[in-house]
Amino acid sequence: MNVAVAKTDRVEAADETPFALARSRLPGSGAVADLRREAYDAFQRIGLPHRRIEDWKYTDLRALMREVLPLAAAPDAEALARAAAALKLHAIDGVRRLVLVDGVLAPSLSEFGDLEPKLSLRSLRDILAGGDAALQKELFGLDSNNPMIALNSAMMTDGVVIAVADGAKLTQPLHVVHIASGGAPAAVFTRSMLKLGNDSSATLVESYIAGEGAAAYQVHDSLVIAIGDRARLDHVRLVEDGREAFNITSSAIDVGSHAHFNTFGMATGALVSRYQAVINVAGEHSRVETNGVNLLNGKQHADTTLVMNHDVPHCASREVFRAVVDDRGHSVFQGRINVRQPAQHTDAKMMTRALLLSDDAEADNKPELEIFADDVTCGHGATTGALDESLLFYLRARGLPEKDAQSLLIQAFVGEAIESIADDSLRDLAIGAAARWLEARA
């Protein structure tokens, strides 16, 4: 089979595109197939985004990714076995595990049984293939002006569609695990959805991991979240993909009134990753906390791009971001706070800090404010620098070897973002991922 690529410097034959090649394997027909076609056209109008597109100024996918790999094959027994082995290393206690292997839901590794009341779980594949036209349309509702979202819409094959009914307070966190089994380099395209009813609460954890031998695979993921009035969602995502992998994830979150959304993301894995989230604070008196950490070394490149839309009055948002960059790593943080004219009494703050550990490391920060309402308190701060020499000396004078002293200071530095995670065991999970990164460094 030919390796199909979405190269930008030549016109590819229509039947050679990853889309054309995968078409027969993409679930859904009729209206779904049409929506896929439209989305792929939207992607092709721009192709892989490059640095001349303002939003992608610091993450030039044309240069970094070069091409979209063909759709991964469905996992066979061997792939599932490798995935199961990888899963063992990243298992968390007390959660409901929902596992996607190479972009396909794996029931044998997941726990679909004994659902708490008012919780419903379905696969994206079933919904696209089956009949619910309204839900299908909703699933295609993401902004296809963003080429990577458009590509994802065109190619999405599976994912978890979660609904939590009004008033349900889930006691068990949901853990969605994306595993690259380590087969031939290929791309996976997934989309998950979480709908939280009014007065409900839930915890969603997402992990991206790789099985033994996984190389330069591509994860193209997306997440649609709707949080009802007076509902609360705690969200943690940990990118621990293989060191040659790509992870491009987009999310769109609508927050209702009197709701609370607490989200934390950390990238320690993948060669190139980008997490782009649009959070619409659409109901009054709501609160959003977004925190993030990039821990990078080697030639890793990680980009976190957040758009916080305040459309209504009396809401608050907090963004805390920390980047630690070693070797030739490159961290990007772009955060935009939009406060529209009706959103009086908005209280929005953003703080981004980067720590550079090597002379070849790079950190780019673009914290933006766009404010159209006058009765607001909005602000952002950004700092970039190296580890404080005087702190390092103090620690060393107390007997800590250099790497240990650095590790302690780095842990404290990222701790300011990690401590926002409400759940103790999830916080430990993030601390653990950070510790693994530090150990690998030492």
Binding site: D388, F393, A397, R398, G399, L400, P401, E402, D404, L408
Partner: protein, 252 residues
């Protein structure tokens, strides 16, 4: 018998400007030495060089600690060997709880010396004991290192570490700066409790006041990067009366 600390003809430059011009100092175990001198005489430079702070270039001379070449050691190695510097301005380390810091540092030193690490209960017991004797509340130990501490609390935290690590050489750099008389007395009591035949102390100060509380065996006067006079504790009183002016001429 080998002296605990031998500084021989030490020459030190910062940014190509020589600060110490051949300083010699010998300190034996069990002794308390005071180093006095005007601002800019090189007192703090000496303490920093002994502890191994980056940014100083040693252009001549040597420092032996228990007969070993101290200058060849990394700062953490020196700490593990028993060199302790009580900082004039202890730094604040946000996000690192004092308790975590103490345990990490103590165990790092023990590990470097090939000793077993403290178990958590043993460690907690020991810290509570020492902290209690210094009047340090438990709540302070949960906060970030020195974060939000008053001047007196910061100095007490230094003494706490000294008591915990049991170093053989303590260098107290301007321990009295920024302290009122009560805070000074508490800190000095803590230091005096640590005086012992196998431990030496070097007390660096501008004023005689501190030496009322920590009484030295030997007093050195530093001026312009050299020790210009040494004597007994009465030298400090003499200095208090006459000032440093005469020594500044002598050094020139």
């Amino acid at each position: 018998m080998t002296a605990l600390l031998e500084v021989k003809n030490l020459q030190v430059s910062v940014a190509e400007r020589e600060i110490l011009h051949g300083l010699t100092l010998t300190v034996n175990a069990g002794e308390v030495h005071a180093i006095m001198g005007p601002n800019g005489s090189g007192k703090s430079t000496l303490s920093h060089v002994i502890a191994g702070k980056p940014g100083y270039e040693v252009t001549g001379g040597e420092i032996l600690f228990k007969g070993e070449d101290l200058l060849a050691m990394a700062p953490d190695v020196r700490a593990a060997k028993g060199v302790f510097l009580a900082f004039q301005y202890p730094v604040e380390i946000p996000g690192v709880a004092t308790m975590t810091f103490l345990r990490t540092a103590l165990n790092a030193q023990r590990k470097a010396r090939g000793e077993a690490e403290f178990s958590t209960p043993d460690f907690l017991k020991k810290v509570r004991e020492v902290a209690g004797s210094l009047g340090i509340p438990q709540e302070m130990l949960r906060r970030g290192v020195n974060v939000g501490f008053s001047g007196g609390e910061k100095k007490r935290n230094e003494v706490l570490q000294m008591a915990l690590f049991q170093p053989s050489l303590c260098i107290l750099d301007e321990m009295d700066s920024g302290l009122d008389i009560d805070a000074l007395r508490i800190a000095a009591d803590g230091v005096n409790a640590l005086r012992s035949p196998d431990r030496a102390m070097v007390v660096i100060t501008h004023y005689q006041r501190l030496l009322d509380y920590i009484v030295p065996d030997v007093v050195h006067v530093m001026s312009k990067g050299k020790v210009v006079k040494s004597g007994g504790k009465e030298l400090a009183l003499e200095l208090e009366a006459t000032g440093y002016a005469q020594y500044e001429d002598k050094a020139a």
